[in-house]
C-alpha cells in the first residue's frame, strides 16, 4: 500500500464534491482525508485528497479523476515531494497531576493552548501529519475529550519551473 496525495482543481459548482467522493466509494478507493476550499479564483476549488492503494489503484484514481468533467486538473505527489499540513484541535481534561506534563508537551511540540476552563483545555496544532499523529499518541495517556482535524492540506514543493 502506497500513500498518495491528490491535489485536484475542480469547477466550484454545487454537486462536485458529491461526484468526486462518489467516485471513490463506487470504485472502492480509500479516502484517508479530503479537504476542499476555494482557490484564488472563485470559480475554482481545490480538493486535497489523501488516498492509498497499490500501484495500479493509485494510477487508476488519477485517471478516473481526470475523466470527471468537473475536474480541471489533477496533480499527484508523494508526501516527500510536498509540504503537507494539518490543523488539529484537541480538548483534554486536566488536573493538578498532569497539568505540568501537558504544558511540557505543548512547549516541546509548539502546541498552542487556545481555550481553558477549570478542568478542560483546548490545544491547537498546525503541523505535518506525522506531528499530529505524534501529539495524539502523547496525549493518549492523558484523557482526550474531543478531537477535530482538518485532514491533510498539501502543495507540491517550490520548484524553479513552477
Amino acid at each position: 500500500m502506497k500513500k498518495r496525495i491528490y491535489s485536484v482543481l475542480v469547477e466550484n459548482r454545487s454537486g462536485v464534491l458529491g461526484k468526486v467522493a462518489g467516485l471513490f466509494s463506487r470504485r472502492c478507493y480509500n479516502i484517508d482525508s479530503l479537504v476542499v476550499g476555494e482557490t484564488d479564483d472563485p470559480d475554482v476549488s481545490c480538493m486535497t485528497i489523501v488516498s492509498s492503494g497499490d500501484e495500479r489503484t493509485i494510477e487508476q484514481i488519477e485517471k478516473q479523476l481526470n475523466k470527471k468533467l468537473d475536474v480541471i486538473k489533477v496533480k499527484t505527489f508523494s508526501e516527500s515531494r510536498c509540504i503537507a499540513r494539518e490543523l488539529m484541535l484537541v480538548k483534554v481534561k486536566y488536573n493538578s497531576h498532569n497539568r505540568r506534563e501537558i504544558m511540557e508537551i505543548c512547549e516541546l511540540m509548539n502546541v498552542q493552548i487556545v481555550d481553558m476552563s477549570k478542568h478542560f483545555m483546548m490545544l491547537q496544532l498546525c503541523d505535518t501529519p506525522e506531528k499530529i499523529k505524534l501529539l495524539l499518541n502523547l496525549l493518549n495517556s492523558i484523557s482526550i475529550v474531543e478531537v477535530a482535524r482538518t485532514g491533510t492540506l498539501a502543495l507540491s514543493k517550490c520548484m524553479e519551473n513552477d
Partner: protein
Amino acid sequence: MNGADAIIKCLEAEGVKNVYGYPGVAICPFYNSILESDIRTILIRTEQNAAHAASGEARISGRPGVCAVTSGPGATNVITGIATAFADSIPLVCITGQVHTDLLGTDAFQEADITGAVESFVKYSYLVKDVNDIPHIMKEAFYIANSGRKGPVLIDVPIDVQNATINKFKYPEEVKLRTYKPTMKGNALQIKKVIKELEKAKKPIICAGGGVLLSDAQENLRHFAQEHQIPVVSTMMGLGVMPTKHPLYFGMVGNNGKAYANRAMNESDLLIMVGASVADRAVSQPDLITKGKILVHIDVDPAEIGKNAGATIPLVGDAKCIFEDFEKESFEGNYAEWLETLKEYRVSMAKKRNPNPAYVDPAAFISALSEKMEEDAVYVADVGQNQIWSCSYAVTKQGKFLTSGGMGTMGYSIPAAMGAKIAAPERQVVAVCGDGSFQMSMMELATMQQHHVDVKIIVLKNNSLGMVREYQQFTYKEHYSMIDLSGSPDLEKLSAAYDIPFQRLYNMEKMDEVIDTFLAHKGSMILECIIDPMDIVR
C-alpha cells in the same frame, strides 16, 4: 420563446429526428412545444425502453439517441436504460422533467433527485436552473455524449424552467469546456513502436471491441488486417467489426466465446487490443494476455488502459484516427505460418453440439436465420442463453449485431430493435429473445403497432429462465430455484391481440420454409421456436 421551445430548437439544430418517451406533468411543456416541430415522437410503454430504443437508434445512426421522460418515477424508470447505454458507451441525451425549482429538495410529488441517482451511470448530467443556460447546456450535452468515449448525458429541467421566457435564443456554434478535451489522434511515437513490434512479431492478433464500431473504424481495421494478413478476434461488443465468415476472423473471445479464439489470443506474441475494456467476461485471466507477449492497448479512454491489464504499449486515441495512421505505415510481416495454425485450431476446436431432434436447435436455427437475412440487416440479441447462442452462431455480413454486452439487460432487444428500425427503415431488423426477456418488454408490441415500426421478433421458448437454469444445473447440482416460467401467455393469442402475424416452429423439419416466410413478410411478425428446456450453451 420559452425554455421548452428552446430545447426543441436545440434538438432541431442537432439534427434530431426522433424522441422516445413517456409524458407526465413535469415534461408537459416539452411535449407541448414539440408539436410545432417535425421531430417524430414515439410513445414507448415504459420509460426504460425509451432509453433502449434511443440506444438502438444511436448504434445505427452514429448520433446520440434522445429520450424524454417525466420527473420522479419516469426518471427513475429510465435509469436501467441509461446504465445499459453507459456500460456499452452508447451516446444518449436523456431529458427529464423535474418539479418546480422552488420545490426542489422538499420531497414534492413525483420529485426524485435524478442527477444524484444516475451519477454513476452517466458521462455527465445537468440540472438546469436558469432558462438562459439551455442553449449551451444542450450543445455541451450532445458534444459530450458523442465524443471521446461516448455515453449518456442527462439533462434535468424543472417545469418552471421549461415555462420561463428565454431572453435571447442563440445556439452556440462551438463548445468551450476547459475540463474536457478527448485525445483523438494517437501519439506518433507510440504508433511507430506498434509498427516496429508488428514487424518483429511472428504471431500477432487484433482483438476488436465495441470501440471500433463506435468510432466507425471497422472498414479501416478490416483493410489493415487484410493488407498485412493479421488475424482478428472480437469481444461481444466487437461482433460485426469483421464479417463472421471473413477468412482472417477467428471468432469471439471470452468465457462464452470460441475456444479457438481464446487460444489464438493467448498464444499470440503481439496482441493489439482496440476499443475493448478487458472486462471479466471477455478476459477472465488478464495475466494470460500480458505474460510473454507484447500488449498494445488502444482506447480513447485513458482510464481503460491499464485498468484490468498492464499494457506494454499504451495508445490513447480514437480507433479510426489510429488505424488511419497505421494504414499510412508500410512494413513487412510474415504471419502465414501463424494463420495456418489458427485455421487448424478453428477446425479442430470447433464445438460439436448434440441437439435434441424433438425441438428446434437454437444454434442451427440462428445460423440459418442470420444466413438468410439481408446483407446489411440488423440483428438484435437479448440477454440469456439466447444471447450466447446469438453471439456464437449468428452470421454477420455487412450489417450490425446489437446486444447489451456490458450490463446484460434483459428486455433490451425489442425496444433497441425498434430504435434501429426507426433509424434505418430500409434495413431488415430482427430481434432475438428468450421467453423470459420477451416478457420484460412485450408491452412494446403496442408501440410497434402504433408507430408502424416493423420489427421481426424471434422468441426462443423453453418455459424457463435458461441461463440461470443452466447455472443452477452445474453450480447448484440441479437444485433449481426461481426459473420456471409457467403462467406465460400463449404467444399466438398474444400476437393476435396485438394484431401481429405469428408463426410457431416446433422442430427442425420445416425450418427453412418458416424462416423464408418470416423474413419475406412485410411488416412485423413474431416467430416462436420451441427449444429444449434442458439445452445448454456451454
